[in-house]
């Protein structure tokens, strides 16, 4: 039995998110269906984390265990064969049996893409169109408030009725940058891990800061309150990309 580590990309718009659904339609379902064909038996894959419906990935990582003696190239070719064209298998390699796509991860990088003004039809499915002017300097000030090790409960969708309640909500947001290139503005966030909807909540808060609706001081006060408020909007899924999962 070998543990296989795979890196993949997917266009989130055709899927119900990463995680397997009873009615199918998820990225995991599509990949597991291919694996069942290749390996001749149902095989569960484990990702670095879920991505929500509509969220994209450029470098999602997953692993699975399989008896396979024909090497990684033929395994990759088998998975790729007839795989939904919205999913790309970037690499497949044998990993240590101790490797775990989720628990071995030391960090993740998300990018949230904004577009200032109407976007063309090729860009629209991959950004959040912002029609009002954005004050990038105000966004960067808010980003500096959020950077570092904090309890991000106020920037997640956790609440008392959800299973995550009571879990550790402290994360180390190592990097939070606002990168502008013409009309394309990206929020790049790197942390040891992200809470449910944390990347989209941070992007939403930075856009509010850029629109003058949240001051850096208000962002700080929301962060310190550790309570989710409607003043923190969740940015829509189609702008978010899981860029990279980091391992030691």
């Amino acid at each position: 039995m070998t543990r296989w580590k795979c890196i993949c990309a997917y266009d989130g718009k055709g899927f119900s998110g990463w995680q397997s659904q009873a009615k199918g339609g998820s990225v995991q379902d599509a990949i597991e269906a291919r694996l069942a064909d290749v390996l001749g038996k149902a095989t569960r894959v484990h990702a670095s984390g879920r991505t929500d419906a509509g969220v994209h990935a450029a470098g999602q990582v997953f692993h699975f265990d399989a008896d396979w003696t024909h090497g990684p190239d033929k395994l990759a070719a088998g998975i790729r064969h007839r795989l939904d064209r919205g999913i790309q298998i970037i690499s497949v390699r044998a990993a240590s049996p101790k490797f775990h796509s989720r628990f071995s991860a030391t960090g993740k990088v998300y990018e949230y893409q904004l577009h200032l003004g109407d976007a063309d039809p090729f860009k629209r499915p991959y950004c959040w169109v912002i029609l009002k002017p954005l004050d990038l300097e105000a966004m960067r000030q808010a980003a500096r408030v959020l950077t570092g090790k904090h309890d991000f409960k106020a920037f997640s969708a956790l609440n008392g009725s959800e299973p995550g309640e009571g879990a550790d909500t402290v994360r180390d947001l190592r990097r939070l940058e606002v990168v502008a290139k013409g009309k394309n503005v990206s929020v790049v966030a790197e942390a040891d891990g992200f809470l449910y909807k944390m990347a989209r909540s941070i992007a939403g808060a930075l856009v509010s800061a850029g629109e003058g609706k949240l001051s850096p001081a208000e962002v700080r006060s929301i962060l310190e309150s550790k309570v989710r408020t409607p003043r923190v909007q969740t940015a829509p899924p189609q702008g978010l990309f899981l860029r990279r999962v980091k391992y030691r």
Copy 2:
């Protein structure tokens, strides 16, 4: 009655091409449905030319005549409202009554996008993935053979049974460039006009030249034969973009 000139972009993958179809589903159908709502009556639009199913446009031009007294901005906003998100109305302006999107055009620019090696899921719907190495210099030599004023019948899909039979098939291919940027290779073609499937046939022939399947001399001999042969492949639609329509 005013003649209105519009520039639009569309992602071809969601449509059955530009031209109106009995069963709907074309870009023209979607735009005419919006116009009927805005103007309160069925209004025919006329494009610079058709694009096939799956072909994209970054700068298609169309015109229509309408009694509209509220200015171009409100007309544009009306058309945009609830328009399919795969179509973008870039501009709307009043034109001379003599302006005709097709007959006034002095040139068109098409770009055909190739990708060397597997493309990610965000690029795949907008390119032709070429897995074999391409000799770009051979492509450029073939491009030089085709550049200029020629009878392009051998590089079109016209044949005796189609309505275009007997029509003038001489076109002035003013520019045919192979532009490479890493794994992205584009064939940029500018002509006074393009025959049916001419842009895709030229892209297909240049790829064959790059793969060593057609020498520049063979490209010349096919051009001079004025007869379509299976040796000229039609590149798939998803790599083709109508970039610009030129007017005096």
